[in-house]
Symmetry: C2
Subunit: 456 residues, 2 copies
C-alpha cells in the first residue's frame, strides 16, 4: 500500500472518478477505511460512494465511529438500507452502540428484517458472549448427507459470516459441528451425523466475553457456538471478535496499571480534555493518599534533624520498595487475567513470592550496604555515612522488599476474591502503601541501630 | 469439563483402561493436555498411550516442554515416528526449539521426509514470519475449475493445517487466494482464476512476527501467505499462531514495564531462582541509579535543616511525578507496540502531552496547595506549614508534572528511533529520572520562595 493520500486528492480534483473506482477495487477494505478519514467530510462522502458496492459495507465496518456518523448523516435512506443489508449483524450492533439516539433510530429503521435480531443482541449485558456474537452462521441437520449440506450452503451460505465451521442442529439444539475441511474432504454421500464432532465446547449467552476470548486462546478455535440455558444454539462468536477482546483487555490492564481510566479510543484521536479526565482522578487520589508518608516524616522530624544524612536514602528506599512491589503485582495481575493464577492459588503464590523476596532482599541488602560504604562514604568522602547508617539502609531495604512483594502479590488476589478488578490494585496503589511502610520501617530500624537516635 | 483428576486416578488404580480410552475419546485435546501434567511420569506416559490415535499428536502439541520431553524419552522410536507424522510442521518446530540436543536428534531422525522442511523453518531468524509459518497449505492452480479444486482438496487436504483459505499458485508464484466459502458456494464449473481474490496481502519470510500479528489484528485474516523475495509462496501463518504472538508481545511489555526480564514460562511453573534472576538485575540497576537522588538531597542538607518540614513533601512530589510520567510513557509505549503511534508522530505526541500536562499540572497544583493548607496546616495544626511552603509544593508539583509528561512521552519514541525497545524505557526508568528532577526543582523553587532559605 504505497498509494498516498496525495494521489487521491489529485484524482478527486481532476474528477477522475472512474480511476478512483478502479483503485478502490484493488484495495483491501481495511486500507480503504484507513484512507477515508484523511479527507474533509465532503470528499470523504464522495470517496465512499466510489467504493465498489460489494466492499462498501466492509469499509464502513472498519471506520471509526466519528466517520461512520458523518457518512450515515450524509446517506439517503436507500444508501443506508443497502449498507445495512450487507453488514453483518454483530458489526451493525457495534456501530449502533457508538451512535447518538437519532442516528440509531435511522439505522434501525433501515435494518428491515434484521431489526429484531439486532435488538436481541443489544439486550444482552455489555460484557457477555451474547453482546459480541453474530447470528449469521450456517445450520445443518444431522441426517443430511455431506452433498445435501453443500447444496444448503450454496443456497444460503453466501451471506453468512463464516462457513469454516457449520453447526449441526436438531430441534434448535446444538448436537455437533462440522468444518469446511470435513465438507470438502469427505464423500458426498456420508451422513453429517457420522462426520460431525459431537463433543462441542460451547459458551452461554451470559458468559463473560473475556472468558470467551480466553477459550479461543486456549483451544485455537476459529468460532465458538453460543447457546442459551436449554442448549439451544443462538449465535456464534468468531475469532476476529475474540482477538479484539484479548487486545482490549490487555490495553485496559495497561491503562489501569499506569493509573489511567481505560478508554478504547486511539491516543492520537483522543481530545486533550478527555486524556486529562482519564488521568487526573488517579493522580489526585494518589496525591492525597501520599499524606500518610508526609505524616510519618513529620513524626520523625527530630530523628532527621539529629542524623540529617538519613534523608538522602529515602528516595532510594521508596523507589526500590515500589519497584519490588510492582514486579510482584504485575506478575500476579496478568496471571489472573490470563487464567494462569486463580484465587485458590493464593498460598502457593505467597510462598513463592516469599522465597523470591528473601533472595531479592538479601541480594539488595548486601549490594546497598556495599554501595553506601564504597560510593557514598569512600568515593564521595561523606563522613556522615557510618557503618551503622549503611547497616540501617541495608536492613530496611531487605525488610521493605519482603513486605513489598507480600503486599504486591496478595492485594490483587484479595481484590479478585472480593470481586474488585485486580488491575486497579496495581503499581501506583501498591507503591503508595509500600512508601508509607518503608518509611516506618526505616525510622524504626534507624532508632534501634543508630546510636544518636537510640540514645534519645 | 468437570472430570476431576481423582476420577482418572481411581480408574488407573483399577486398571480400567478401556474406560479411560472412552473418556479421552470425548475430551478436547486441549483439556487432555491440561490433565496429564497432574500425574507422575509413569502414569502420565501410561495415560498418553491411552489417548485415541487421532488425537495423540494434538494433545502432544498442547503439552508444556517439560512433559513433552518426558514423553519423548519414554517413547519407542515407532511411537515417536507416529506422533511426528501426525504433527504439523510448525508445531514440531516449536517442540524442537525447547528440547536439549539429544532429544532434537531423535525427533529429526523420526521426522522422515518432513526433516528438510523442519530444517528450513529452523533456519529463519527467531522473530521472523518464516519461523512461525507452516508449510501445510493447499495450493491450487488458476486454470482449475472449482470442481477440480475440490477434488484436489479431497485428495490432499486432509493433512493440511487449514483449507479455509487455499492458495492459487502459478509456477510457484502466488497469484491469488480462494476461500472455503468460495469453494462451497460457487458453481463447480467456474474457473478458480475467475473466483479468486487476486489482490493478496502477503508478508515476507523475514517480516518481524509482531508486524505479522498486527496485520491479523488489522485485517481480521484467518491465515496470511508468506512469500520470499521473488513472490514465491513458501508457507502460511495461521491465526492461532498470530494470537500467541499478540499475547506474548503484550506479556513482554507488561514484564518490561514492571522491570522484569521477559520470560514466557507460566508463573506457577517457574522455579524461584529463575524469578529472582529475572527481577534482580533491574532492581540493582534502579537502586544504583537512585544514587543521584541521594546526592541531590545531600547537597541541600542545609536547606532541609533550616526548614525541616520540606522533607515531609518529598515522597508525595516524587510519587506524583512518577505516576504522571508513567501515564504518558505507558500510553506512548502501547501506542508504538500497536502501531497507533509512529516515530514521526513525536511532535504531535509532545504537543498533546504538553497540553495535557499543563491541565494536569494546574489541577494538581491547586489541589495540593489547598490540601497542604487545609489538611496539614489547619486540620493537623502543623504551624511549620506556611502559605509559602504550600506555594512551593504546588508550584513544584505543576512544573514536575509538565517535565514528567514530557520525559514520559518522548523517551520511548526516542528509544524506538534509536532501535531500542521502547518498553524498557518504561515507568521504573522514567520514575528514577523524574525523581531526581523533581528534587532539583523542589529545592530550587524552595530557595527562591521560602524566606529562611532565600535569605541565606
Amino acid at each position: 500500500m504505497e498509494l498516498t493520500t496525495e494521489v487521491f486528492e489529485r484524482l478527486l480534483k481532476e474528477k477522475q472518478y472512474k480511476a478512483i473506482k478502479s483503485i478502490f477495487d484493488t484495495m483491501n477494505p481495511v486500507d480503504t477505511a484507513a484512507l477515508l478519514p484523511q479527507f474533509q467530510e465532503r470528499e470523504m462522502v464522495l470517496l465512499f460512494r466510489l467504493i465498489p458496492k460489494e466492499n462498501a459495507a466492509m469499509v464502513f465496518t472498519y471506520l471509526d465511529a466519528d466517520e461512520e456518523q458523518i457518512l450515515i448523516e450524509a446517506f439517503t435512506d436507500n444508501e443506508l438500507k443497502t449498507i445495512m443489508d450487507d453488514m453483518f449483524i454483530d458489526d451493525t450492533v457495534d456501530v449502533i452502540e457508538e451512535m447518538p439516539a437519532n442516528v440509531v433510530e435511522r439505522i434501525l429503521a433501515a435494518s428491515g428484517e434484521k431489526r429484531k435480531a439486532i435488538n436481541e443482541i443489544l439486550n444482552y449485558p455489555e460484557d457477555s458472549a451474547g453482546s459480541i456474537m453474530t447470528l449469521e452462521y450456517v445450520a445443518l441437520s444431522p441426517d443430511m448427507t455431506i452433498g445435501e449440506a453443500i447444496q444448503r450452503i450454496k443456497a444460503r451460505g453466501i451471506h453468512r459470516e463464516t462457513v469454516n465451521t457449520c453447526y449441526v442442529v436438531e430441534r434448535h439444539k446444538l448436537v455437533g459441528i462440522i468444518t469446511a475441511k470435513d465438507l470438502l474432504t469427505e464423500d458426498d454421500d456420508c451422513l453429517v451425523k457420522d462426520v460431525m464432532e459431537d463433543n462441542v465446547i460451547t459458551v452461554n449467552t451470559h458468559t463473560d466475553k473475556e472468558e470467551v476470548a480466553q477459550m479461543f486462546n486456549k483451544y485455537d478455535f476459529l468460532a465458538l457456538p453460543v447457546v442459551d440455558n436449554e442448549n439451544m444454539l443462538v449465535g456464534i462468536v468468531t475469532v476476529d471478535d475474540a482477538i479484539d477482546v484479548i487486545q482490549e483487555e490487555a490495553e485496559e490492564d495497561f491503562q489501569k496499571m499506569a493509573a489511567i481510566t481505560p478508554s478504547d479510543r486511539p491516543y492520537l484521536k483522543t481530545p486533550v480534555w478527555r486524556i486529562w479526565a482519564s488521568r487526573i482522578p488517579w493522580l489526585l487520589l494518589l496525591m492525597i493518599s501520599a499524606t500518610f508518608t508526609g505524616i510519618i516524616i513529620s513524626k520523625f522530624e527530630n530523628a532527621l534533624a539529629a542524623v540529617p544524612i538519613l534523608t538522602a536514602f529515602i528516595p532510594m528506599l521508596m523507589d526500590t520498595g515500589g519497584n519490588s512491589g510492582a514486579q510482584a503485582s504485575v506478575t500476579v495481575i496478568r496471571g489472573l487475567s490470563l487464567g494462569e493464577v486463580t484465587v485458590k492459588d493464593i498460598f502457593k503464590v505467597m510462598w513463592k513470592e516469599f522465597r523470591v523476596s528473601i533472595m531479592c532482599g538479601a541480594t539488595l541488602a548486601v549490594a546497598s550496604f556495599l554501595k553506601v560504604i564504597v560510593v557514598d562514604r569512600i568515593l564521595m568522602h561523606n563522613t556522615d555515612v557510618s557503618m551503622l547508617i549503611a547497616l540501617t539502609v541495608g536492613t530496611t531495604l531487605c525488610v521493605t522488599i519482603i513486605c513489598a512483594k507480600f503486599i504486591g502479590c496478595s492485594l490483587p488476589i484479595l481484590a479478585k476474591k472480593l470481586k474488585f478488578d485486580p488491575a486497579v490494585m496495581a503499581s501506583p496503589f501498591i507503591t503508595t502503601i509500600v512508601d508509607a511502610l518503608s518509611l516506618l520501617l526505616y525510622f524504626s530500624i534507624a532508632m534501634a541501630i543508630v546510636p544518636q537516635l537510640s540514645a534519645g
